[in-house]
Symmetry: D2
Subunit: 285 residues, 4 copies
C-alpha cells in the first residue's frame, strides 16, 4: 500500500476530521448519523423525514436523486426534478443532504445542492467519475464495491485525493457472498482494518448489508462498537410503499429508537451522539 | 426451516440457557468468555494461562488436544498425552475446559475430561461425528463451516439435538472470502439472524475470523454489541512461540485488557461480564 | 507446497495411472467415465442403470449407500442393506462400483464391496477419515471441499498418501459462490492448475457443479477439453422420482448421448473413450 | 427475467449473429478470436502484433487506449495519443480493433476509430456509460462484472439494447473468489446458462480469469467446448516487458499455437476457425 500516499496513515493516531457543513463533522468524537429513504419520491415524503428525524440524533439526511437500478425499466429517480425537494429538506431540517451521483452530468446538475456526494458501490472503480469528484471541494462518501478488496477501496479514495479533494469518507456496506439469509455480508473486519491503515473516517451502511429491517439495529450497534465513525441507514415514512429497497427500510420511529439505543455503546467506545436539532413535541408537553 | 424442529425458536423470546458446569452457564444475562491457546503445548503453558486468566472475567479455558491441520506433517496436538494437563488446568483455574474432538475415537478418549466438546469448522457437516455427540450429555460448541449457510449450521445442530443432546452452542467464526486482509470475514449478520431463528446460544470467535491480533478487540466489542452470548478468543503466554496460529494469538495481558473493555458494551445491551475467579495480586497490594 | 511430498509432480510429464479393477484405469489416455444415481434406491433401479450404461462408454458405476444429507430427517441411504444391490450391479455390468464412505464404520461395512471409495466434499478435511482410507489399498476419489483451496485439496490427498495409499483421484465438483443460477461454480482453472502441480488423476463432477441437468453436457465437454481425466455424472432411470438431487440427474439415454458427444473432444486433446461393455440391442438388429 | 425483453431468447434456437466489419461476424458458426496486448504501448509493438497474428485464425485485435488501473499512479494508457497506432494496426492487419471506453469523453474520442467498444468489468453497472453506448451503432463487448450475477449481466446488456443498439456481445472473464491460485474463477457454467437464456453471442476471456499464462490454453479449449462464440486473449511481443498484466500475457507464437490447437475442439462442437488473413512466410518457402 505504498501507493496510497495520501490516504494512508502517517502515524498511529493520524485521524482526519472532515467538516460537512456548519457544525456537522465526521471523524472526531461525535458520530455522523445519516438517515433517510432510498429514493426521493415527493415533497411530502421528505418533509415527513425531515420533521421526524430532526427530533433524533440523526445529523444528516439521505435521499436518492439518481438511482442505479439493475433493470433499465425500473424507476431511475427524479433526477433534476428532485432538487427543489432537496433544498426544502435542507431548509426544514437544518441538516446536510447526501445523495449519489453516477456521472459528470449528474455532478453538474446536483453539485450546488448537495453537502456530501455519494459514490455508489457499482461505481467505486468508475475512475473517470472519481477524478471528476476529486476536482470538487465537497466531501465524498465512497462506498466499497460489491466485492472490492480493502486495498482497492483505499486506492479508489486515492484517485479522488490525488486530484486535490482530500475530504473522502469511506463506507463499508457489505460484500457479496453465498448465503441468501442476508443481502450481503457486513464486513466489520474491514472497518477495523481501514482504521488501522488510513486516517480517513469510516462509515457503515447496515441497510444494504442486511437487506432486511429486523437485524439493522444489531448491526448498527456492532458497527459503532467496532469503531465506525458513523452510520447511513435507510428509513421511509411508509416502508412498504417505498419504490425501492422496501424490505430493508426502517420506519422513521424505528430509526429514532435505534439511534437512541446507540448512546450506551457510543459512550463505551469514547464516542458521542449528536444533539437532536429539535426537541420532540411530546417532550415539550 | 420447518425441518429444524428442535433448534428453531418457538416464540419471539425463546432462549435456551445451557449449564456448562458449576455456576457457569451460557445463554442468560451473563456472557460466556472462553480464552486460551490454539493448542495445548505443555504444563507450564497451561498453568500460566490458568493463573493469568483467572484474574479476568474469562470463565472457561480452551486448548486443543487434537489439532486439525491442513498438512499431515504439521503438529497434530498432544492427543491423550495432554489429558493430565487438561485436568491440572481445570483444577488450578476452577474453570470448565473446552477442546475439539474430530472422531468417535477422540470422543472416547476425552469425553470425561472436557466440559464443552467443540466441533471444528471442517467437521460441521461430519454427520457421523454429530450423531455421536448427540448421544453424550455434554454441551457442544458447534462452529460454523468455512462457507456454510446459516440454514446448514442450524441443521447441523439439529443432527446433534435429534439424537437427544439439546445442549448445542452455535459459533460464528468467519466465512471464507476473497480479501486477504483478514483470514476470514466475520459475519455478524449471521449472529443476528441466528438469534432471530433459533433459541440456541451463539458465540463468536474473532480470532479465526481476523487471523491477526490487532483487530480482535474491535471485533470482540462488535460481537457483544450485536447480541452474541459470548466469545472464544485465542491467547498464548508467548504468541510468537505458539506452534500454530501465532499471528492471531493475543498475549494473556492483552486478552485481560480486552475482556475488561467489554464491560460498557455488555451493559449497554443488557448483558454482564462474569466475576473474576481471583483478585489480581497487584490490586491486593 | 513443499509439504506435498508425495502428491506433487516431480517433473513436467509426471502422471500417475491408477488401476481401478480389471482393465479399468484412470490417468492414462483412456478416460474414466462414471455414471449412476445419487443414491441406491432399490434393485430394479440399479439393474436398469447397469443395463443401459453398459451400452455406452461409461466404465464405472456410482450409487450412494450412505448419504450425507443437510437435514437429519432426510433419507440417509440404504447403508449396509444396499450391499447386495452393489454386488448384483457389479456382476451384471462388469464395471467397478464407486460409493461414498463418511466414517471408519462405513469403511468397515463397505470396503470389500467397493472398487473406489469416495470422500465427499463435506469430509475433504475429515482428517481421521483420510488417515483411515490411507491404510486401505483401494483407489480413493477425493472430492474438493465446498470452498477448499487447491492447496488444501492437495494436502488432503497427502494425508491419504502419507499413510501408504497413493491411489488418490482428485475431483473438482464446483465451489460455492454467490450466483444462484447454478448450484456451485465449476472451477476448471483448478483442474488445469492441479494438472500442473500434481501427478494425480483429476476428475470433474459437472452434476454437483451445475445442480441443473440442462447445462451438464456443455460442462462435461468443457471438462474433457480442459484436460480432465474423466467425469462422474449423476443419472437416474426416472430423475423426477429420485429421492435426492432430482434436478441435476440426467436420464440414462441423456447420459449415453452426452458420453457419445465427448468422442470428438477427447480425440482433439489426445484422449479416448472406453469401449462399451455391450453392443446396444438396436444396433444388432 | 421477464424484464430482459430484448436480451432474452424468444425460442430455443434464437441466436443473434452480429456483423463486426467486413466479413467478420460473431454468433454464427465461425468463432470470433480476439488477440492482442493489454495496453497499446507504441507503434512497433502493435505492428508486430498485427504482423504475427494475421498469420493465425485470430480475426480481431485488442489493445487498450484507456486503462482502468487500481492505482491512480499506474500507467493510464496512451489515450487519444494512441489513435494513430490503432488506425495503422487496422490498416496493416485488415482486422477490426477492440478497445475499452470508460466514459462519454472516451467515447467521443475513440468512437470513429474502433470496431468494437468494450465495457470493462468495473463498469458493467456504470449505467450512464451503458446508455451512451446504446446510442451508438457499434458492437459492444460487455464484460461481466467482478462478482455480477448472470441476471445483472443480462440486464446490463438490456440497458444498452433499450437505447436502440442491439449489437451486444457478452463476455465471461472470471469471477472473484477465495483461491489465490488463479486471479479469478472462470465460470463456464455462466456461459452455458447465458446461451440458454439469451440470444446474444457470448465470448470468454481466459486471460483475466487465469491471471497466469500457463493455464490459458486449457481454459481456451474448455471455453470453446462449452459453446462460447469466441475468445479474447492477451498476448504481447515480449510479455515480461508489458506495462500491465505481464503474468497473464502469452507470447505471439504461443497465442498462434493455442489458436491452432482449437481446431479439433471447434469441429467437435460444430464450429469453425476463421481463415488466416495471411499465409505464414515459412509455409510459403
Amino acid at each position: 500500500m505504498l501507493e496510497a500516499k495520501l490516504a494512508r496513515k502517517k502515524h498511529a493516531n493520524d485521524r482526519s476530521s472532515i467538516v460537512i457543513s456548519g457544525d456537522c463533522r465526521v471523524g472526531g468524537k461525535e458520530l455522523l448519523l445519516i438517515g433517510g429513504p432510498c429514493a426521493i419520491e415527493d415533497m411530502d415524503q421528505m418533509k415527513e423525514v425531515a420533521r421526524v428525524l430532526s427530533t433524533s440524533s440523526i445529523n444528516a439526511i439521505r435521499g436518492g436523486l439518481f438511482k442505479p437500478r439493475t433493470s433499465p425499466y425500473a424507476f431511475q429517480g427524479l433526477g433534476a426534478d428532485g432538487l427543489t425537494i432537496v433544498e426544502e429538506t435542507r431548509k426544514i431540517s437544518g441538516m446536510p443532504f447526501v445523495s449519489e451521483v453516477m456521472s459528470k452530468e449528474h455532478l453538474d446538475i446536483a453539485l450546488d445542492h448537495l453537502d456530501i456526494l455519494q459514490v455508489g458501490s457499482r461505481n467505486m472503480q468508475n475512475f473517470e467519475l472519481l477524478k471528476a469528484l476529486g476536482k470538487t471541494d465537497k466531501p465524498i462518501l465512497l462506498k466499497r464495491g460489491l466485492s472490492s478488496t480493502i486495498e482497492e477501496l483505499i486506492l479508489a479514495a486515492e484517485y479522488i485525493m490525488a486530484e486535490g479533494n482530500e475530504k473522502v469518507i469511506l463506507c463499508e456496506r457489505g460484500i457479496r457472498s453465498y448465503d441468501q439469509s442476508t443481502r450481503n455480508v457486513l464486513d466489520l473486519g474491514a472497518v477495523a482494518v481501514l482504521k488501522q491503515m488510513t486516517h480517513l473516517p469510516v462509515l457503515v451502511d447496515p441497510s444494504h448489508a442486511a437487506g432486511r429491517a429486523d437485524i439493522i439495529p444489531d448491526l448498527s450497534r456492532a458497527a459503532i462498537a467496532c469503531g465506525a465513525d458513523g452510520l447511513i441507514i435507510e428509513a421511509h415514512p411508509v416502508p412498504e410503499r417505498s419504490v425501492s429497497d422496501a424490505k430493508q427500510a426502517l420506519t422513521l420511529p424505528e430509526l429514532c429508537e435505534l439511534i437512541h439505543s446507540l448512546d450506551g455503546i457510543a459512550r463505551a467506545v469514547g464516542r458521542s451522539l449528536p444533539a437532536p436539532k429539535r426537541i420532540p413535541a411530546r417532550k415539550v408537553a
